[in-house]
Amino acid sequence: MTGDRATSPVMSQRLFGADIHSPVFLASGTCGYGQEYADLIPLDDIGGIFTKAVSVEPRAGNPPHRVAETPGGMINAIGLENVGLDRFIQDKLSWLREHLTRAHVFVNVVGRTRDDYAAVVAGLDPHDGFLGYEINVSCPNVKGGTLFGTDETALADLVARLRKETDRPLIIKLTPNVSDVGVFARICEEEGADGLSAINTFPGMLVDTRSRRPVIGNRSGGVSGPAILPMGVYATWRARQVTEIPIIGIGGIRDGDDAVQYILAGAALVQVGTASFVDPDAAVTTHAGIEAYLRAHGVATLAELVGTLDDGL
C-alpha cells in the first residue's frame, strides 16, 4: 500500500461483495475478538480477522493445560471458550465496529446442533460490524456424535440451513480429518456456500512421560502451526480442483513464501494463526512478503496469481 504507485502491485481483491485490500487475515481462535492485537499491530493494514468461535450460549472451555508445543507446531484444546452470542454482540461486535476502518471481520460460528448454528447466524445477521460468517464444522454433532465436517449428510443439511438464514458471505471451514477434502468442499459449494476455509487442525495428543498423563487437560487437541503447512496447501489445491468459490488458505503460514504457496495452490485469501504467537507481526510480515513476491516476479495484481500453480493438469 506504500511506495511507488506505478510499480506497486495491486493487493486488493473484490471478494464476497467487498473490497478486501489485503489477503492476510488473523485466524479464528488466535486473535480473540481483535482487541488485544489492535494494540500490537495495525489491524487496518491487513485484511482483517476471523473471530474466536461464537456459540449461542457462553462456554467455559476445557481444563488446563490447554496448549502445548509440538514439533514444528502446537496443540490446543481451548474447548471453544467464548462469551456467547449476546455478549459477543454487546461487547465485542460494538468494539470491532468502532475500531476497525478497512479491516473486515468474519465471525466464526459453532454449535452442537444445526439449530444452534442457525441461532447464532440469525442472531447476528441484523447487526453491523462484520462482513460474513466462517462456520466451524470441526465440532462434535450432538445428534450424530461425529463432527459436522466429517459427515456428508450432516454437512449438507447444515450448509443448506444456514444459507436460508443469511445473505451474507457464508464460508465453511473444512476439517482435514476426512479421506478426501474435495468431497466435502463440493458439498459446501453445492449447498450454496460462498467460500471455503482450508484447513482446521488435526487431532493430536501429547503424553507427559513423567506423570504418564496426557499433557492436554482435554486429553487430545488440535494440532496447528508450520507442521501442518503441507497438509493445508494440499487441501487447498484439492478443494480448488473441484470447486469454484473462493478459498481461504490456513495452516502453518509464517511468511510471504508460505502464503504464496497457498495462493498458487488456489487460495484467494489466507489466515495466519499460530505464527502470531511466535511473532505478533507475522500477519503484517506475511502481507509485506506477498507484496514483495508480486513485485519481484512482475505480477501486477494479486488476483492474477491465485490458483496459477503449474501442476501439469
Binding site: 502446537m74 502470531s276 510480515t285
Partner: protein, 219 residues
C-alpha cells in the same frame, strides 16, 4: 514472553513466559533463565549478538504495601521475579525479606550475585540441608508477622502457602505457572481456576493473583 521469532533458521519455538529479573540503570532488562526443557535450552544457547524476541511486560505484578515488610517466598526458579521486586523495594527504602528454597545446594542461585542485584541476603533453604537451613520455605515464615507475603514457585508450594495464609489470616499474593500461547489474553490457553469456579487467564489477569482468588483444589 521470550522467544526466537520466526526468522531463525531451523527453529520452531513458541515463546515462553519469563519474569523480568532485574533492570539496569542503562535501561537494560535482565532475565534469570533456568534450563528446564527444550525451550529454555534453546534460549540459553543464544550467543552474544543473537536476537531474541521479547513481548512484554505483560500481566500483573506483586504489590508491596507502604509501611509493611514484603516477605518474598521463592521456590526454585520462582526466585526470578523477586530479584526484581526486592531490588526495587530496597532501592525505595522499604524492608524486604527473601526466603528462597531449592532441592539441594547445587540448584541454589549464586548468592553473591543475588546480593549484588538486590542488596539483601536471601535466607536459603534446601530440602536435603546441603545448603542453608534444611527443610521447606514454609518453615522460614513467622505465622504472626505483619508482612505482605508474596510467593512464586511450584504449584504444590503455592498451595501449601495458600493453606498457611488462610490458617493464619495472612495476605498472600502468588505468581502462578501455566502453559501459554499468545501471552496477551487472546487465545485462552493459560487458564487457572478461580475460587469462583471461573477460568482466569494467567497471562493478563495474572500471573500474580491474591491466593484467595484461586481454587487450590483438595489439599
Amino acid at each position: 514472553m521470550l522467544g526466537l521469532g520466526l526468522d531463525t533458521p531451523g527453529t520452531w519455538l513458541l515463546p515462553r513466559p519469563f519474569s523480568i529479573g532485574w533492570r539496569s540503570e542503562r535501561g537494560l532488562i535482565g532475565i534469570l533463565l533456568r534450563v528446564f526443557g527444550r525451550g529454555t535450552r534453546a534460549l540459553s544457547a543464544l550467543t552474544p549478538g543473537e536476537t531474541a524476541l521479547v513481548l512484554g511486560p505483560l500481566g500483573t505484578e506483586f504489590e508491596a504495601a507502604e509501611g509493611r515488610t514484603t516477605e518474598c517466598v521463592a521456590g526454585g526458579v520462582g526466585l526470578a521475579p523477586f530479584v526484581f521486586l526486592a531490588a526495587e523495594e530496597i532501592a525505595a527504602g522499604r524492608p524486604v525479606r527473601l526466603v528462597y528454597g531449592e532441592r539441594d545446594a547445587e540448584a541454589v542461585f549464586d548468592t553473591d550475585l543475588l546480593r549484588e542485584l538486590t542488596d539483601i541476603d536471601a535466607e536459603v533453604f534446601t530440602e536435603d540441608g546441603s545448603r542453608g537451613t534444611r527443610g521447606r520455605v514454609t518453615a522460614g515464615l513467622d505465622p504472626a508477622a505483619d508482612s505482605v507475603l508474596c510467593a512464586c514457585g511450584p504449584t504444590p508450594m503455592l498451595a501449601a502457602l495458600a493453606r498457611f495464609a488462610v490458617e493464619h489470616d495472612r495476605d498472600l499474593q502468588v505468581s502462578v505457572e501455566e502453559h501459554m500461547g499468545c501471552g496477551i489474553g487472546t487465545c485462552q490457553g493459560c487458564v487457572v481456576r478461580s475460587s469462583a469456579g471461573r477460568w482466569v487467564k494467567a497471562c493478563v489477569e495474572g500471573p500474580v493473583f491474591r491466593a484467595t482468588d484461586l481454587d487450590w483444589g483438595a489439599p
